[in-house]
């Protein structure tokens, strides 16, 4: 069992163990969505919602149902089904009760199901044996960290479009990679700020 303070987990997940820049997860949408600041913001908010919600739902399912039943073999299966179901539900809820939100982040929801980080958060939570409170803070921090990374990327790229002359071969995915590399370097400067168990 882990004895790490949940608040420490939260801060570490955003900075020193940023899931996009240290663990390199959630890359596919990272490259595509970060073209535009507003879209990045929308995607970021949507991710925070979905990741935290699914982590909260999956923790009890894993520890209170699968483990006592010795059914860990089907855990990935269950996780992915719950994630898909949660996203569907969220989509339906937003359509029915919060139509204005639909345009700002509703359109990203289907994409999120395949975003590695939703599943990754569940896998890490299981691997590191976090308890419930730790899971909540960890999922919040991880998704916030990913959102932070994607928003910074979008801001940088938007500026670059205006003032830089990127070589033809590098345009699009190539330059995104280089920027991401520099960002990853920068985030390494946070190391030692926190010791994460």
């Amino acid at each position: 069992m882990n004895a790490t303070n949940p608040l420490i987990l939260l801060v570490a997940a955003i900075f020193t163990h940023n899931i996009a820049l240290v663990y390199i997860l959630g890359m596919c949408p990272f490259i595509v969505i970060s073209r535009n600041f507003k879209t990045a913001l929308g995607m970021g908010v949507a991710i925070i919602f979905v990741v935290t919600l699914t982590a909260i739902i999956i923790w009890p399912i894993y520890w209170l149902i699968l483990v006592p039943a010795k059914a860990e073999i089907i855990s990935y299966l269950i996780f992915i089904i719950v994630i898909a179901a949660t996203v569907q539900l969220l989509e339906m809820l937003i359509e029915k009760f919060f139509p204005p939100l639909q345009s700002s982040f509703g359109i990203f929801l289907p994409l999120i199901t395949v975003n590695c980080i939703v599943l990754a958060v569940c896998l890490f939570m299981v691997l590191r044996k976090y308890d419930f409170i730790q899971t909540v803070f960890y999922s919040l921090g991880t998704s916030a960290g990913w959102a932070l990374a994607i928003i910074i990327m979008a801001a940088i790229k938007e500026k670059m479009m205006l003032i830089s002359d990127v070589p033809k071969g590098l345009r699009g995915a190539g330059i995104t990679m280089i920027i991401a590399g520099l960002l990853a370097f920068a985030f390494m400067g946070f190391a030692g700020m926190i010791t994460l168990q």
């Binding site: 790490t4 073999i73 089907i74 299966l77 089904i81 190391a191 030692g192 010791t195 994460l196 168990q197």
Partner: protein
């Protein structure tokens, strides 16, 4: 009707998958358990400096090591009185886990083995290398084990840290100090109670 068909389909698919996976599980589970057991016991044998050939780890372990259950911790005692135990704690980037063994005098180290760590490869990651760990042999941990800048260690309780990996070195220093003293204390109690 359509909804029913969908639900039926999902159920059937789910069941078929689960059945298939349970089958795979029964095949692989025993092997996986055995792998974990071998991993732990090999690390213990390594820490106790008992040689073994690949494949015979379990047999040699059962023959030459005695397990002492002290409630929360297990001690692995070799024939010459050295005691090994697992340790786990925070490193700089992630948890460090390993097996440490102490000499019968209960105040000096026999060997340290790092089983898993998430430090920077080539820098902090070198804490897991044999070249770094062999310096711990015979070092004392009372009053405490001190990590000195590389090349400067001299006293019997000083070891060299890794240049360029201050964070990882400090984390390891903290970790080793806490687990070595604590476990030596527990072991002393256990042996006195006999």
């Amino acid at each position: 009707m359509k909804a029913l068909k969908i639900i039926l389909f999902v159920l059937v698919m789910g069941t078929v998958s689960s059945v298939m996976l349970v089958g795979v599980n029964s095949f692989t589970q025993p092997l996986i358990f055995k792998n974990e057991e071998v991993k732990l016991k090999s690390a213990v044998l390594g820490a106790l400096e008992i040689t073994y050939e690949t494949g015979s780890a379990l047999a040699i372990f059962n023959d030459k090591v005695r397990v002492l259950d002290a409630g929360k911790t297990e001690f692995f005692i070799s024939r010459d009185g050295a005691a090994a135990f697992e340790f786990y704690g925070p490193g700089l980037w992630g948890p460090i886990s390993g097996v440490a063994s102490i000499n019968p005098d209960l105040k000096s180290i026999k060997a340290i083995k790092i089983v898993s760590q998430e430090e920077t490869p080539g820098l902090g990651g070198r804490i897991a290398e044999h070249g770094f760990l062999k310096q711990f042999r015979g070092k004392e941990f009372f009053p405490r084990l001190v990590f000195m800048p590389e090349g400067k260690s001299s006293a019997v309780n000083e070891v060299d840290a890794i240049t360029g990996a201050t964070g990882s070195s400090r984390a390891l220093e903290r970790l080793l100090n806490s687990v070595l003293q604590k476990n030596a204390g527990i072991l002393k109690e256990q042996l006195n109670n006999r």
